[in-house]
């Protein structure tokens, strides 16, 4: 069980690194666009579109790690009044609810990606990027969040 938790946490950290890399890519992309526009009077034409795609990755790939590091906010105003046992119990209940919602979202975002791919949907822009490419990180990120929630339950139970 400890090993499973370790693997999941490694995965979450990997997701955070990917998210950070996407963030750097956005900065580089926009910088190139600004230089092109102000110095060479040209444009990449896709800087804003692709920055937004990368931003999807920045958000969803870091969700698991953010949970692992206890950085998602919650209100502990009332629960902090409970005893140790009550707190652990409520925490497990909250995590189970969160897992149910994440799994539900995982299922439906997978369908969304599949449909975008099947229908051959393309972005309404010059690049005509297939939409599923920009969506595919979402189920990936949610799956990692789901695993991290599972790891949380495993840790609380042991």
């Amino acid at each position: 069980m400890k090993k499973a938790v370790k693997i999941i946490e490694g995965l979450s950290l990997g997701g955070a690194y990917l998210s950070a890399i996407f963030m750097v890519l956005i900065v580089v992309f926009i910088a190139v666009e600004i230089v092109l526009r102000s110095v060479f009077n040209a444009s990449t034409l896709i800087a804003d579109e692709y920055s937004a795609y990368f931003f999807v990755g920045v958000v969803v790939l870091g969700l698991g790690f953010t949970l692992m590091d206890e950085a998602h906010i919650r209100i502990t105003l009332l629960t902090s009044l409970l005893g140790e046992k009550g707190k652990t119990f409520l925490d497990i209940v909250a995590t189970v609810v969160a897992m149910a919602i994440t799994s539900f979202a995982l299922y439906h975002t997978t369908i969304m990606v599949f449909e975008s791919w099947q229908l051959g949907m393309q972005a309404d822009s010059i690049s005509e990027t297939p939409i599923y490419l920009s969506q595919v990180v979402i189920p990936l990120g949610l799956a990692m969040l789901d695993l991290q929630l599972l790891a949380r339950i495993l840790k609380r139970l042991s």
Partner: protein
Amino acid sequence: MISDPLVMSLVLFSFMFLCLFSSLWIGFSLMATGIFSMLVFDLNLPPVISVWDKIGGLLANSIYNSTNSWSLTALPLFILMGEILYRTAISTKLLNGLLPWLSKIPGRLLHINVFACSLFAAVSGSSAATTATVGKITLDELSKRGYSRNLALGSLAGAGTLGFLIPPSLIMIIYGILSDTSIGKLFIAGVIPGLMLAGAYSLYIIIAAVIRPGVIPKDSESYTMGQRMRALKDLVPILGLIFAVLGGIYMGVTTPTEAAAIGVIGALILAIAFRNLTWEIFKEALINAVKTNCMICFIILAAAFLSQIVGFVGIARAVSEYIASLGLSPYVLILVVGLMYVLLGMMLDGISIVVMTLPIVLPIVTAAGFEPLWFGIFLVFMVELSQITPPVGFSIFVIQGISDEKVSTILKATLPFFIIMVIMVILVTMFPEIVSYLPEKMV
């Protein structure tokens, strides 16, 4: 099954607070509330569509549409910029640059928090970052020199919240996206109210220093004009960065997202110039930015889902029609809205308040004749108040972390600055031109 939208809104709010107070994460609480509303409301869906598929479709679309956003991309970039600057020597430079200039004003160095926060707020999008960056150096320095601890803590809490009001501002980015208001205009609209608030804080410090001379040490340091001029060069880096970030937006050359990317690069250049940049520090700044950004964006995408549902079920319209039927005067309405925000601000953080309430509150206040641009600034003030109200006030937590003082001490020190902020809100409400003057002058 419930079919009356007004009853539904009560059920929805009760369920939401049940989730929130059982310590379910805020993002998940909003999602759970959305799903719950769809299940208990009498939707009259055609029998071929399953309600679960409908909910799932809305949820998947909200997640994609709220993150696939060029405007919102400014958010992680401004966070990253703040994280890099926090790790540079910029706070020391601010202190050294401002120090010689404050020796003649009554209250002397007590003004350092107000001045340093105002300047730093112009390159930082958040109050927590401003409070932490400025406070980590000024609090010790002021105590060491024998200034009143009370005024030092209070002015830091008050002035730190300028991070949200003086552009760039994370709250304004979020509000701009949710309300479809120009983020650039919101940024510029915050300048005058921000400077007025800073001025009011300084005025209070001057009055306090005149009435109670004990708050400042007896022996004063004096500086020659030459020393003052030399000190200015310590302010050059931050002034340059302010110009690079805000200049482009004001002149209409860059979008806020581009300005944020310029800001990140500017912060990196400063970090290299100050010799603060190592690979470790860069990595740490990035990972922290990832965490803060994910925390905020998770709430935003959950709120986007909930606001779709609120619209779908007809709650937003029902509540605004109900409020309109009460026939409140605009001032009474805004007073009620303000009190509600102060109350919510005691329990929740600013960003959650904005995203949770906006779908319902914005239609109500615009129907009463308030400009969305003006309401954005009003909302930023409400968020600032929420930062310093107990029991949940993020600025208070930050100051507690860097000062090791008791929360009650910090709160008592912050009270006068809280009152000044409330007075400013009243002024801005009575004279909306304070907000609209600069944006109207924009190119």
